[in-house]
Symmetry: C2
Subunit: 271 residues, 2 copies
């Protein structure tokens, strides 16, 4: 999917919502545990109930790897289901990978070719040659960590490197990399006041914004400082949507929560 197509979907659906599919077997309805693939059954129900309200799904790979081969099978079935049923959805493998060049190429192959995700999240610590192998894929997107939503973001990301915060150096430097037009960035919603400065460095890029909901970030604040002419934001909510109920009505309740966010987004888009 191209960024233009993503921007179009946002206008069509009046939504820039991304739903995080972070499925924990301890949190899903008990009766699903009796099915052959509880994680997939859970995802399928969530997708069926919410696909018209969001433009993106983001499975976090950790939650699948924790269940070994069975988990990887659930991930594969989930991405295949989305790609078949809803090819207009922008898919994100939230994997936070990054390694030396030949290894990053293998990760890119895993997520872009084998699983056919539209995008993957990567970590910047190892620099240019750890990210460029991902950028080499046409119409695939590499979403690099810039400023994350957690407390630990203040350990290194906001430290000053020659008078400039590290996350800003990361943003500025990454723009010089080959195929940098395929970059998007992770910027946490818990740090809304930072968006003004970030938009000075990457005015046109899409930003994936976790931290609305369970982590306490504000949608309106993020939009106020972070939106650009193409919207340029994907607001992620995971736990706040998918675990609204752990009864038989879990998908219905998830839809209600997604709808609340979509309605807020529609209001913002209509302004």
């Amino acid at each position: 999917m191209t960024t233009q197509q993503l921007a179009q979907q946002i206008q069509i659906k009046k939504s820039f919502l991304c739903i995080g599919l972070d499925v924990d077997l301890n949190k899903i309805p008990n009766y699903l545990l009796e099915t052959e693939d509880p994680i997939f059954e859970f995802n399928k129900a969530i997708i069926d109930a919410t696909h018209d309200l969001c433009v993106s799904y983001k499975p976090n790979t950790a939650f699948y790897e924790a269940y070994g081969i069975k988990g990887w099978q659930s991930l594969e079935k989930t991405i295949n289901y989305i790609n078949e049923k809803h090819p207009d959805i922008f898919t994100i493998a939230d994997a936070k990978r990054g390694d030396i060049g030949n290894t990053s190429s293998m990760y890119a192959k895993a997520f872009f070719e084998d699983l056919n995700f539209d995008s993957v999240t990567v970590a910047p610590y190892m620099g240019k040659d750890s990210v460029e192998p991902f950028l080499a894929f046409e119409n695939k997107h590499t979403i690099m960590l810039a400023l994350t939503s957690n407390e630990g973001a203040f350990d290194f990301q906001t430290q000053f490197v020659d008078g400039i915060e590290l996350y800003k150096t990361v943003l500025t430097t990454s723009k010089t990399w080959k195929n940098s037009e395929n970059l998007m960035y992770v910027v946490g919603a818990t740090k809304a006041e930072f968006f003004t400065d970030i938009r000075k460095i990457v005015p046109d890029s899409f930003l994936l914004v976790p931290g609305v909901g369970a982590q306490g970030g504000s949608l309106s604040e993020v939009c106020k400082y972070g939106m650009n002419k193409n919207v340029g934001l994907l607001i992620n909510s995971s736990r706040g949507i998918i675990y609204s109920s752990n009864g038989t009505d879990f998908a219905e309740k998830a839809r209600e929560e997604a709808l609340k966010l979509q309605k807020e987004m529609e209001l913002i888009l209509n302004k």
Copy 2:
């Protein structure tokens, strides 16, 4: 495995070699491709031929994920084979993970519990709460990227943060984290001259050192500046050992290459 047990193994085997199991189907002997699980068959032959010469094996997860479920099965069979046949071997999942707390817990579960690795590599960019969930596991080890072996290391890791290089800030800061005694660090062999300063910050920690071999690092230089009283080094070689031949003699040739390194290490240990 405890660090004391690892240090003992180094003395018993006169080796601090780690063999990287980065299996690329394009590089292994053709005839193996006809077997049911070529990656596992390759690893099994390498392990059978080299286990007395090394103290550690390090599968890089990218090379398994690139083959989807089949790849994950090969990884599981490989770690199970090592744990059953050679419980004295220190196993490293080279995964370079790291995410917000609840997600890092899932990764820790995946590698420490589900797959039963002794250790996993992690990236530091997201800070304390992204690493501490790994550190919470007793007798498991978290190997954090400090200064990597690739060119991109100079993009951010060696930048000055308040007058101190970022990788040194990462080292110093990480020592304040809970259960930091379970930390080891990745320091690339291609930067041997940096080891003196690194040892001032983490004199007692084990360092996992990639970059000897294919990437051009020097074993004697690394030992000169990086060794401590417990040796404190795991020198990794991947491609330089496992792809010495792509004929039927690949395991034998891998042994020859591993033996060369082990003999060099024995000389250094006897000094």
